[in-house]
Subunit: 202 residues, 2 copies
């Protein structure tokens, strides 16, 4: 009867519900009661699992959702034929999810990141660590594709910036245009870098 025998314990449901709500409407706009209702949990459960209250829950939601999104993207990347097809799939997939969820599901941590950047140092660090983890993962893939480490890092940063910016613009406009254009741009960028690796055709 230990906790890990449960399919999804109260603690996991709290983190998952919190991450969803934080991603869609932000940290401050999401009340603890709303999280409890969505998790079908009680006050006592929350403060039992997270003595630090909302902030501790938020820190864990950021890390869990950030890692979850990274894994989601890496699976898409692995499923694609090559580096370039992977980049294309990431942006196409993001555009698809945006439309399918009426532009509610986007980057799980961007809203929190902007909210806390100047107001909560612990949470800011949590978001920074997530983005840095994404950067490292993308850089590794570009290096594996034969691109030099410094260029690979720049490609990774640019790719993530394009993705994050397109999330903002697409959600605001309720249109996939920005995400599709961002994808086209990212693909062109990576294509150019790869062309420098193998200037000889085929």
């Amino acid at each position: 009867m230990s906790e890990d025998t449960k399919v999804q314990g109260t603690r996991e449901r709290l983190v998952s519900t919190a991450a969803d709500l934080f991603g869609r409407q932000g940290l401050s706009a999401t009340g603890i009661k709303q999280i409890l209702a969505g998790s079908k949990a009680q006050f006592s459960s929350l403060y039992h699992h997270f003595p630090g209250g909302k902030d501790q829950l938020a820190a864990e939601a950021i890390r869990t959702a950030g890692l979850g999104y990274q894994q989601f993207v890496e699976e898409i990347w692995d499923g694609a034929g090559d580096l370039l097809a992977g980049v294309r799939s990431i942006f196409d997939g993001a555009a698809y999810v945006l439309e399918a969820t009426d532009y509610a599901d986007a980057c799980p941590i961007a809203t929190i990141a902007l909210e806390v950047a100047s107001t909560n140092e612990d949470l800011r660090l949590a978001t920074a660590e997530v983005f840095e983890s994404w950067n490292r993962a993308a850089t590794v893939r570009f290096v594996a594709g034969g691109i030099t480490p410094s260029v690979a890092r720049e490609l990774a940063v640019a790719l993530i910036a394009l993705l994050e910016g397109a999330f903002v613009l697409s959600r605001a406009a309720k249109s996939p245009e920005s995400m599709l254009v961002a994808g086209k741009t990212a693909v062109a960028m990576v294509e150019r870098a790869l062309a420098l690796v193998e200037p000889h055709g085929g």
Copy 2:
């Protein structure tokens, strides 16, 4: 003794203070009392000028700050030698402002845009209109540079996506890296488009 004889009336101070706070910590995290304190105004002033309360003030703050940032960027662009130098200056300027303000001053409406995208249709539309206005202004400049309208539109979208995404990443990391890389990427993008316009050297 009409309102416009004053240097900056209560109404203007309210909008300006609100825009600043919304941009730095978000809409939900910013209380009306905090806005009043920052504006040295009273409750009655706020509800006199904005019968619709916080939402009406937010809508006006979004439009005013959005237009203000557009003018700020357009002045930078005008001050630069050419199209390409303008793009470079925008990102360098953004990186400079980020560092100078300890990563507090970034896009004035991105935080709100993400907060309200799925929760407040009026405010979502206000943010969408601002971004569309930026898009049009940038597109016009690229077209004036000889780029075809459809490519110009894509360049504008990509430029703004890079800028917005870099704001998120740079604020989270408290580092200018993302903004500088985004600028480099934007410059390369525009360079390539211009090269197709005048393939002959000089």
